[in-house]
């Protein structure tokens, strides 16, 4: 078990080859996303609902524990939805570029995006010692690092499962992000225009 995880971190290309060869299901990818989301969500909940609300002296109409659970659950659900939606889009653009992987394999490869979140977990005790603003900055900084790190993983694993070059994999994921960002921008502008 530890070997598997170690290989995933050190050599994503080798590990995705193993996972595909062993016909690992989408559940492994889901487990990675959920565990990483719990780490990210719980730390975010602590920073927002305990440190943040204590700082501004705001008392919620419901308990802090409930608000923490809400933040954590919302964060986890959002990550699962992002994983599924972006994974399906990446799969679609992979196919357009001649990719050979199945949807399940692409989702498994895309779950590597959440793998580096363990860094936030390892450093989570420092949030207790930092003040609220530094905590937020540190959390955002760590999130950016883990995102970029995970993005590199996804490039490699997506290339491997589709027998792409890194350039093709980059193009497929880049198009996905452009589509998502364009869709969000379009929705916002339509919503703004209708008001």
């Amino acid at each position: 078990m530890l070997d598997y995880i170690g290989i995933m971190v050190v050599s994503p290309r080798k590990s995705i080859q193993i996972l595909v060869a062993e016909k690992r299901t989408i559940l492994l990818g889901l487990a990675i996303v959920i565990l990483a989301s719990l780490v990210g969500g719980l730390n975010l909940a602590y920073i927002v609902s305990i440190k943040g609300l204590g700082f501004v002296g705001l008392k919620l109409p419901f308990s802090t524990s409930l608000s923490s659970v809400g933040i954590m659950a919302g964060y986890t659900m959002l990550n699962i939805i992002l994983w599924l939606v972006l994974g399906i889009l990446i799969y679609a653009f992979d196919k357009l570029l001649g990719g050979k992987a199945s949807l399940e394999t692409v989702l498994l490869a895309y779950s590597y995006q959440w793998l580096p979140v363990f860094i936030i977990g390892l450093l989570s005790p420092i949030f207790y010692y930092l003040d609220i603003l530094t905590s937020i900055v540190a959390y955002v900084f760590l999130s950016v690092i883990t995102f970029v790190w995970g993005y590199v993983y996804t490039l490699i694993t997506n290339a491997e499962v589709n027998k792409f070059t890194l350039g093709q994999s980059f193009a497929s994921i880049l198009i996905t992000f452009i589509v998502i960002i364009s869709s969000v921008a379009l929705s916002v502008s339509i919503a703004g225009g209708s008001l």
């Binding site: 530890l2 780490v39 719980l42 440190k51 700082f55 363990f118 977990g121 609220i132």
Partner: protein, 282 residues
Amino acid sequence: MIEDVVYRAIGALVIAGLIIGIITPLYLIANNMPGNNGSLVDLTQMLSGLVSSAPRMNYNFILEKEISTNSTNALRLDINLLDGYIEVSRAPVHTIVIDIYSTTSTANGYKASFNEQSGALDIMARSSTIKLVVRIPDNMIVKGLNLNMSNGIAKINITEMKGPISFIIDNGILESELKNIVSNNTLIKMSNGVVKLSLRYSPINLSEIKIQINDGVFKASIRVPKNTMLKITPTILNGVVHVSLNGKNITIYEDQEYDNGSSRLDCEIMILNGYAKIDFAR
């Protein structure tokens, strides 16, 4: 071979990250610990704002915050009164510091004092609106605690304490959890109200508890180790004592003794009017 070791080490690091990343915020959230941003001073100021806007009609506004320490000589005390609170915590100082803050010029009084020679900490609170912070230095062992409260709700958690403890309550609610208490003279005397007492890990060293209730309810959850003898001597003028020993309910109408082994716990309860309920659980 070396590669395998590296993989396992990194795998262990990832698992550690996940565990720490989940456990740490869970613990902090569960204990409502704001961390560096929530120092005692900030917390006092924050709660001060809440207290000033709190309703003063009844007991339904309760502030709960516990300042804890890890030292073996720690005294943890958290008393929540009607519209205020008393907190006793420890600070890295070597002199006794008792800070008393008053938000209103109420006629009711309060007093907190620490006798350095006897080691006794006395707190008397009759006001409904007080804030009191008592800091006890690291090298000081609190040998006794007296709480005298006329109105309100007191929540007192004490760990690792030697010496007599007495709670005298005229009217109100006392909820207390005592852990690892070594005391041969513990007295709870209440004229009207409710006492909820939880003793954990204490009964082996706690030789005697005297509880006198004139009118009210006594509920105690006492965790006793296996083979503990329980002796209950109730004096009931009007009321009944309900005892649950290791999950089995027992109703006591006169002096009874339960011998469940070699260790000994004596509990004396006198109720003038009301009833006492004691739960003994493993």
